[in-house]
Symmetry: C2
Subunit: 322 residues, 2 copies
């Protein structure tokens, strides 16, 4: 329960082992390119399309890697987590597949589509207020009642190692990338991405992209210590969590820079991905493209890999219609 005290961080070897372990559980997703978006950005962009991942986001990688390492003896008690949605669906899916119960604490403002998905995999959903404190309190209560194993959405070495497998696959298809950008929320994806990328290509630059409206990671990166999340009312609903000490440590060690983008830039980038790539990406997944478009001086003329983190959203309420 005190997982952030033991700050174990995964090595590149852990990420390679995760990649082997999750074969058949998570998919190898396609890498897409678009002449139109390259023209628009001036960069040469490789989109790692985790919207096509099982359960609709990269979270399936970390959840599978964690669930597959739970000892048989503990399986009956199940797993518990808190998540704004995508980790919930992924954990529920992986748990169902391994045949163990899943308990999910979810903020009541999570998109309905995400709630329904997790419930569809047989998870027991517990709603809470959309604050980190309320989430923590709720999952501790569930844990006390069930003794289920916590699979934290990002403060967990196995989860981080799993998330890193997306970058590993991307670098296998595009081995000459000069930069790679992941969205940042709790920092699990960015941490895994940075460890995988720097170990594979020491000269690659790794960036985190974050909504201005939930900019705790960027402020923490600047100050070198965990800064509180002051607001989280961003359209990128997958990016409303805060860093933990473990992910901050990894990010400080391996990430070149964190930058924020505005809500308008996120919405525009989402629409551009839909229009040019013909894929459904959620706003969180478009945050890296928003950064490329916002900072041409940094990215134009370079080969840049972006993690499109997921594709789950309410189709009735599109980002540009809210």
């Amino acid at each position: 329960m005190t997982s952030s005290v033991d700050c174990i961080v995964p090595s590149i070897l852990d990420i390679h082992r995760a990649a082997e372990r999750i074969v058949g559980w998570a998919k190898q997703t396609p890498v897409m390119t678009s002449q139109g978006l390259d023209r628009l950005s001036g960069a040469q962009i490789y989109f790692k399309c985790e919207n096509f991942q099982r359960t609709g986001s990269f979270k399936m990688r970390g959840a599978s890697n964690a669930i597959l390492q739970i000892p048989d003896a503990l399986c009956e008690r199940g797993v518990v987590t808190h998540s704004s949605g995508n980790h919930a669906a992924a954990l529920a899916c992986a748990a169902q597949r391994r045949g163990i119960p899943a308990y999910i604490v979810m903020p009541h403002n999570a998109p309905l589509a995400k709630r329904e998905t997790a419930a569809g995999y047989g998870a027991k959903i517990e709603l809470c207020d959309p604050t980190m404190a309320a989430r923590e309190e709720a999952w501790r209560r569930v844990h006390a009642a069930t003794n289920a194993t916590l699979v934290h959405p990002y403060d967990d070495s196995a989860v981080i190692a799993g998330q890193g497998t997306a970058a590993l696959e991307l670098l296998m298809e595009a081995p000459d990338l000069e930069a790679i950008i992941a969205p940042v929320s709790g920092g699990g994806l960015l941490s895994g991405t940075a460890i995988a990328a720097k170990a594979t290509l020491p000269n690659i630059q790794v960036f985190g992209a974050e909504p201005e409206m939930a900019d705790d990671a960027t402020r923490s990166f600047r100050s070198g210590q965990l800064e509180p999340l002051l607001s989280s009312n961003t359209i990128a609903d997958g990016l409303r969590a805060t860093l933990c000490q473990r992910t901050l440590n990894i990010i400080l060690a391996h990430v070149d820079d964190l930058q924020t983008v505005s809500e308008t830039q996120i919405i525009e980038a989402t629409k551009l991905i839909w229009r040019y790539l013909k894929i459904v990406a959620e706003p969180s997944g478009a945050v890296p493209l928003a950064l490329v478009l916002a900072q041409p001086s940094r990215f134009a003329g370079r080969r840049v890999g972006l993690i499109v983190s997921g594709g789950n959203l309410d189709l009735e309420r599109l980002p540009w219609q809210m």
Copy 2:
């Protein structure tokens, strides 16, 4: 100019030649599957994703195959066509690539996104009323002024052969299909699909799927002669054209059945494709899935290939928001 008088129809050899000819011009698009949609339909569905095709629809196949066969001596005069949008963009793109002028007659109710796309490839756009008569009159006028070569959107053997390459690719990836369904408008895609499928797998069943609101092809198939289009106010804006004698002949010879689906079924199928496959398909491209879902007695338990014909639409006005 009297292309429907010489009713040349392509053979399977023409389709194989087209496949070789258009390499580098049209893409080999992915075939996708979805456990969720298989569960929902009871069928085992293979989606040929022409929304990922260059210019966003299968039309790039036929347009490229036609443009590549224009003699050098005629190139300077350019090409002319009429189209509700996707053929226009494809012809404009292929013409630009070959370095020849393109003149496009387009109904004024074509989606703005489609108009902009064609114009973006340097085509000269001429708007007309949304009737077949107005279209014909307008392109004849352009033809008289320019002497440009007509590349009809479907009444053209080279175009039909090009469209058939999508089914050829689909059957290479899913060689044990029991049925294949294409949307039908002017009948070019369905004709090419039927010739390719029946020559490759003689026992496969080939179906055309058409909006109830533009059901001329289904009525023509039943009566054995060209029936007029009585209305074309369907949300599937790519399916508002009518068969010609050439495509009717092919369809009567090679297609097992044509069936219609309602507007509600089309909209629901479009949303399901977005939600489960995480791809942007236009309503026309969802018409085959609408048919599978509408007729479980015909398709459940079978391996069915669907041509998702394109992914171009105004993202500001989604089908389920109109």
